[in-house]
Amino acid sequence: MLNYDIVIVGGGPAGLAAAVAARNAGVDKILILERDKELGGILNQCIHNGFGLHTFKEELTGPEYAYRFIEKVLDAKIEYKLNTMVMDISEDRVVTAMSREDGMYQIKAGAVILAMGCRERPRGALNIPGYRPAGIFSAGTAQRLVNIEGYMPGREVVILGSGDIGLIMARRMTLEGAKVKVVAELMPYSGGLKRNIVQCLDDFGIPLKLSHTVVDIEGKEHLEAVTIAQVDNHGKPIPGTEERYTCDTLLLSCGLIPENELSRNAGVEMSPITSGPIVNESLETNIPGVFACGNVLHVHDLVDYVSEEADRAGQNAAKFIKGELADNGGEEIEIVATEGARYTVPSTIDLGRMDDKLTVRFRVGAVYKDSYVSVYFDDERVMHNKKRIMAPGEMEQVILLKSKLEEKPGLKKITVKIEAE
């Protein structure tokens, strides 16, 4: 069996940043396991710009952003294995991996960092009625075909879902000569950035139909047409509002799901809201020495926050293997999201292990205008910040100071909620 201080599962933005942080914290034996044939993860197919404004103060494309971190990994001579699938992670941190070259082998890891990212919700999970012909793709699969493989899935396109990947693909397909006829969105608002709505749809005259969904798919062998209809407040199609669009391609951009099969098998406890692991202030799961960061933990809006979070996971994993992350026996403080806040990451704080400052990230469940993000220490409101707008598509955050928590001995519960006033 091989031995490494830290094994990082996934060589995308989260895994790369975690590796670099762990190395900077003085960890010697680090191994990144990546299933694809190159490092960088999904960023390699995200060829549009807009990445890195927070991290690098400039606008990079996905591959460029990834390469900034790949360079750091190469410079630090951190070991990595490509084309390698992690098959299993055990509770005592034995990682089973497999590749053509190395066969199937096991690695005993001092700490494990989960950085597997997320995947797209497929058509089946959406229960869209109709035929099941060729020509229906999740937006990310189409993105890979177009940007990496250089093939077009079709010429006339309908897109369901106005998350950023859907919007970006609307522009991408248009620039490659396809006709994007409409983008339908089930919700009364788009989960995508305003900038993408303007620059990916408005710039090209592509209509966005909010509160609409696909109600029929035609074509036995290949997609021939889809019908979209308006939906009521419960998301149910309204009869009489159907519109039929002939098309040969339907792209689905209907949400992302953290990819946690390995975590579940290892016995990592999951949040039903984020579909990611439940973690404490150190981004550590219920299994000591197993950390999580990036989209496998919760789906992020900006890669900059993935990098930042992964940096913390890398540092904490380093502390763990050096024995500096010991349980101080202190009480655990629970963080609860309620009234508009859907979840928080992390979910608990051990005051003894908390840094001076802790960023708690969360998402809201609906669009809120001129509302307040409030934080309660037990029953006492300690934070009340007005926000002009909050939307489900964007991550929100509050910053907790250790000094403030220490002022409240016996604190049991921190509540994050959205208040109208």
Binding site: Y67, I148, G150, L175, V198, Q199, D203, V367, K369
Partner: protein, 121 residues
């Protein structure tokens, strides 16, 4: 007097901004709720610009396409023409980040550059 309706891209508010123009000069900006909107609207109606990102054909590489971008913004009304020049470009591997794919694309003074490395095989 000309009126233009815009959606501000500054934040998720997405303010609907109305700009009044007289012979190309901005007369008024209304509907925005902060300074970002005002600045955005003035730029967007007088000289809208975009960064174009796409892929270009590459021969002899470990991938069939290399991702590219305009090194800085180009005028929005040139997007189609810029795409035509990108589509016609044929690179030879190896190519590295920042390598010029199309020099001075469409006379904009802006180069199209590679945004990833493609090694020769």
């Amino acid at each position: 007097m000309e009126k233009r309706e815009l959606t501000c891209i500054g934040c998720p508010m997405g303010c609907q901004i109305t700009v009044e123009l007289n012979e190309g000069q901005v007369v008024s900006v209304t509907g925005n709720t902060c300074g970002i909107g005002d600045k955005y609207a003035r730029n967007e109606v007088t000289h809208p610009e975009r960064t174009v990102t796409s892929t270009a054909v590459i021969l002899g590489g470990d991938k069939p396409r290399v991702s590219v971008k305009t090194a800085s913004n180009i005028p929005k009304d040139k997007i189609d023409d810029v795409m035509k020049e990108i589509d016609a470009a044929v690179m030879k591997a190896p190519v590295h980040i920042g390598d010029v794919v199309v020099k001075n694309v469409c006379g904009t003074g802006v180069d199209v550059v590679a945004t990833r490395n493609v090694e020769a095989v």
